[in-house]
């Protein structure tokens, strides 16, 4: 609970964060940028968890635990994604999204 700040303001913030992530995910051409956008989306959800925990159920800690859990999973996911991108780079010498279309075939 932060003095003078309502839950709606913080949820608005996390929504903005989420849609920035979505926008980045759809429009970026670079795989790394897309990965960063995904991180933004995840962070938006982490903020939501923490805020709702704090404002709605102040005497519980589940939201906090889940947020830590999400951070850990996100780290693992990032490691995985980066390794895939590196392997892809070795194959096609590019990290551009449109070059990965060959994987369709």
């Amino acid at each position: 609970m932060i003095e003078g700040v309502t839950i709606y303001e913080i949820l608005g913030l996390s929504s903005i964060l989420f849609f920035i992530g979505v926008y980045g995910f759809i429009t970026r051409k670079n795989l790394i940028s897309i990965l960063i956008s995904v991180e933004l989306i995840l962070n938006a959800s982490v903020v939501n968890f923490v805020v709702i925990n704090k404002y709605v159920y102040p005497d519980m800690l589940q939201g906090v635990y889940v947020s830590i859990f999400i951070i850990a999973v996100a780290a693992a996911e990032t490691a995985l994604a980066v390794s895939i991108i590196i392997n892809l780079y070795r194959q096609i010498n590019s990290v551009e999204v449109r070059d990965t279309e060959i994987m369709k075939h």
Partner: protein
Amino acid sequence: MNLNYIFLIPLIPLVVFLLLGIFNQKIKPSVSGYIGVFGLLASTVLSFYTAYQYFFISGKINGLYQTFVEKTVWMNFSDTLRIDMGVLIDPIAVMMLVVVSLISLMVHIYSMGYMKGDGGYTKFFAFLSLFTFSMYGLVLATNLFQIYMFWELVGVSSYLLIGYYYTKPSAVAAAKKAFIVTRFADLGFLIGILIIGYYTGTFDFETLNNPEGSAILNWAATSFMGLSAITWALLLVFIGGAGKSAMLPFHIWLPDAMEGPTPVSALIHAATMVVAGIYLVARLFPMFYFVEDGFALNIVAYVGAISSLFAAIIAITQTDIKRVLAFSTMSQLGYMMLALGVSGYEGHEGLGYMASMFHLFTHAMFKALLFLGAGSIIHAVHSNYLKDMGGLRKYMPITNITFLIAAIAIAGIPPFAGFWSKDEILVAAFEHNKLIYYIGVLVAGLTAFYIFRIYFGIFWGKDKDYEHAPKESPLSMTFPLMFLALMSIVVGFIPFSKFISADKSGFEAHLNMPLAAIAVGVGALGIALAWIFYKKENNLAEKFANRFGVFYTWAYHKFYFDELYLFITKKIVFKRIAAPIAWFDKKVVDASMRGVGSKTIQASEKIKGIQSGKVQDYAFSFIIGTVVLAIVFIYLWTI
């Protein structure tokens, strides 16, 4: 009686078949022949041991030959109706074991010489083993379904062996013809089996054949179109038997089956497979005899008699020696059928049954000998036709003597085997049905005539211009000839009636002197006529043929049965029935299915652009979809 080892009799040929079939390319031809022969030798020894055990040691209890059955449940339909697999040992099964083993062994040995240097040597022996296995299975079957299964298996092996020279179009056509014709007849057999199963609730021979059993006593309980349903079933079963045994009108496949290698003709199309029909009727003999007072059995007798006469007449006119022998086989099979048909059941009344089995036994020996002899001749002169042969007695002394023995045996001259069995058949016919007896005597004369016609034609008369002088075949081929010749002389003296009779009790059969004299007289007359016509080359026979003119032409063309069948199948079945169905299939069934297919393809052509492979496009549609669903569920979905 211990039955455990009997399973080995069919299993050994099966193992040999698998061995030779799977390692077809790896086994040297010289080895594969020996594998086949020794495998079969083991089966033969076991068969003879079984026969000895059964007939002389443990088969007879209280003056009756017992039926021993060893089986396991194979398919269980209901508490009463089920299909078993197993072996059944009774006098005719043991007798057939001996016949099949002996002839098959001789044919195996003979084939080692006859097929030497052939490209498919190993394959040939594999097929022979498959056939022998199936035939053993058929003989030992405990119920109608088991016999039906092996019945089809012998059909398949017959098909494979007729079409053995698969590069020859005529052989392929003959194989197909044999398969389709017998298969068509087997349809009747199958329906008969199902009717029997439906009304009696069992397939087991033991239960069906029990004269005091419900299957036989309750035959009158059901009726269909004036006859008992069981009688219909038996007639249908007999159609199956007639197909395999080349009775009218299903005989058309047998002459064409001569396209196969000659040892195959000797084994399958003379001695063993074609008697399966006889065996089937004999197997169900109590049913045939007791149901509806032997109505079905009468049909059997007449079909047998007519086929016998019909085939004997055709045999006189044919010029291909193997075809003469084929029609002769058909004629003798008709003899066996008619003997079964005129048989009674108890004691001496069952003479026909015993005579039929006896003739089956002796016929197997001398007909196999005739075929193997013909094979030896064909091997030497490279032709099947009588016009290419003549004066061969100087070149092929062993073949000559053995062929002569077989010819005398089939003509029914004492003391050779054919005389004894044929005489019993004629006595049985005389006692029960005079008309059939007269047909039998006429056929006996015709048989003597046609067999000596080819004998004189082949071994006497002038030499033809052979490309190189014909020479006697190797020992592997002449040994079976000599052995079977010996058999053709001695098997007639076996007191068959002691071992095999319809009611399994055995009886004393006596020679009926006047009837025997008539039969021998007619046979001798036939031989004498053949002597006059064919011993020296002259045109007597031609003159005679011209005298009979139309009739001769009809007989030469086998009474146009093939043409009739072709007409029925091509003009009526194919054109009027099959063609409209094919049209419907193509234009309606196939077309509607194709329409569905092409419409699906068109639709997918249109929408396949959506799947672009761009990750971000997918993500975009995913998000739009989520938003739309969220709007729907939150604001619009109000109940």
